[in-house]
């Protein structure tokens, strides 16, 4: 919706948004908690309100929407979608991919034990509670301290369930500090760092889990096990960009961000195919998703006006940087370029250096950098060289 509205603002006439769910808004529709929109609207909205503002704007602008519609395949210039009315072949000179991401599941992290009912991803439980109106358990353990896990700890508590603990395998949480404060500390829910689930008990229904402390190599320490009875285990163990369509389109992928390789216009390696939001890389804040979607819309509008692509120079993630978006930059850069990146480990006084070969292009220092918090760095257009290779790296003290 962010991209569609921006494209309309930029004068693109014929726009269609395809959504597989019944309502627009994606995951925001189940995010009934507040904390959205501070950057964009200057106020704290619930996820649902944030989505509704965009839905209302879409209606005002008269942008065409197909809901309950699944895109089956796409190729440059054409999207094939299916819904209750049948199969639709839709011509499009520009396609913006905005499929979001999916949760990692139990299978992705190989927890041993039986396979009883009562093991859910945190987002699935969020949908059950907030949209469908079911409480999936009364006594819960949450594995993983990402924001969805923390938010669900509070939500379950407010709905009358008892959350025994949130276990996190890393020595730090990947959730926002304020979510640890307002979702766990407010309700005296213990956060067990360097802990994981080593066994799931129960046959038909979950009866309990065994937690253990892990060592520096994330291996369970024998003798540290303890059993916690519970009928609900929520997994909040990471998100994976949903790129089946991108792969089918033949878009080049970044193995670390797990999303398409893009330039500063969010243009993928396939001409006329753009991507934005969690399908490119998992964001912490929806505001940043919207800002990125606007850049993708600007890129698509630019492409529609003049379907020609310039030369690209690669931008590599160097020391302490796990990934950076964009992964390449179209030159000559006409406008300032926004870099979004994540650090590999918590760092104090991180110093971000953008360099071209041995030459330093830009240096930025921040008070602190955490893997859980995306770093944004603006690079003036004039600073970007017209050739060669760029690398962004980070130096800092370990925290």
């Amino acid at each position: 919706m962010g991209a569609a509205l921006e494209a309309r603002r930029l004068g693109v006439g014929d726009i269609l948004v395809i959504e597989r769910d019944k309502f627009l808004g994606g995951i925001l529709q189940q995010c009934i908690h507040n904390g959205f929109g501070l950057h964009l609207f200057g106020e704290e909205l619930t996820g649902v309100e944030y989505a509704q503002r965009f839905i209302d704007a879409m209606q005002r602008e008269g942008i065409a929407v197909m809901t309950d519609t699944m895109v089956m395949e796409a190729e440059p210039g054409m999207v094939r979608a299916v819904n209750a009315d049948g199969v639709h072949e839709i011509q499009a000179r520009a396609i913006i991919l905005a499929m979001g991401c999916r949760e990692r599941t139990r299978g992705a992290i190989n927890i041993p034990g039986s396979r009883p009912a009562g093991v859910y991803t945190a987002g699935a439980a969020q949908r059950l509670i907030n949209i469908e109106g079911f409480l999936p358990g009364r006594r819960a353990v949450i594995l993983g301290s990402g924001d969805i896990g923390l938010i669900m700890a509070r939500r379950l508590t407010l709905e009358g369930a008892k959350v025994e603990a949130v276990a996190e395998i890393m020595p730090w949480s990947n959730g926002l500090a304020r979510n640890i404060a307002q979702c766990l500390d407010d309700f005296n829910i213990p956060l067990l760092l360097s802990h994981t689930v080593v066994e799931i008990h129960g046959h038909k229904r979950l009866e309990g889990v065994t937690l253990a402390r892990v060592d520096d190599n994330l291996q369970p320490i024998p003798g540290s096990e303890r059993y916690i009875p519970c009928d609900l285990l929520l997994l909040s163990v990471g998100l994976i960009p949903e790129n089946e369509l991108s792969r089918q389109l033949g878009v080049a992928m970044d193995p670390v961000s797990q999303g398409p390789v893009v330039d500063q216009y969010l243009h993928t390696s396939v001409d006329g195919v753009f991507a934005c939001g969690n399908v490119v890389h998992v964001h912490d804040l929806v505001d940043f998703v919207t800002l990125e979607s606007r850049r993708a819309a600007a890129g698509a509008a630019r492409w529609l006006a003049r379907p020609k692509r310039g030369r690209c120079i690669p931008l590599k993630a160097g020391d302490n940087v796990s990934y950076v978006v964009p992964q390449r930059i179209s030159v000559p850069a006409e406008e300032d370029v926004t870099l979004l990146l994540r650090v590999r480990r918590p760092l104090r006084k991180p110093e971000f250096i953008l360099r071209s070969g041995e030459e330093q292009v830009l240096r930025r220092v921040r008070p602190v950098a955490l893997p859980a918090e995306m770093v944004e760095i603006k690079v003036p257009a004039a600073a970007i060289p017209g050739a060669g290779e760029l690398e962004i790296l980070c130096r800092g003290e370990k925290r």
Binding site: I32, G133, R178
Partner: protein
């Protein structure tokens, strides 16, 4: 002296309040929040209420202003008794005074009638 993590925005500043003096904040909202947190901590409550005749059976709702933390349970109990009829518009007042706090409960989204 009391230390806390600011929940006003996603920055999550570490705040310290020492005899009425706040430090560690990066904005005035953070300072005000810290002072409230040591005297009368408040939170925005978000939950769902039962919805009849709409495209959904649950309506997401929020308190328009933060409510005292100590009254969260009462607010929830009150919200759980509410029944709303579709259609609903975002921002519509669902309850003018939630559990005697004087705070309005409003709809977080619009839901059409079926």
């Amino acid at each position: 002296m009391k230390t806390m993590t600011c929940i006003v925005c996603p920055m999550g500043c570490r705040l310290t309040v020492d005899s009425g003096e706040v430090s560690g904040h990066r904005c005035n909202r953070g300072r005000d929040w810290a002072l409230a947190e040591v005297t009368n901590p408040v939170r925005v409550l978000t939950t769902t209420v039962a919805l009849e005749g709409g495209e959904l059976e649950l309506l997401p709702v929020r308190t328009l202003a933060p409510v005292p933390k100590a009254k969260l349970r009462d607010c929830l109990r009150h919200a759980n008794r509410l029944r709303v009829k579709a259609p609903v518009r975002m921002g519509q007042v669902i309850c003018p005074d939630l559990a005697g706090t004087g705070v309005q409960l409003t709809a977080a989204r619009s839901v059409a009638k079926i």
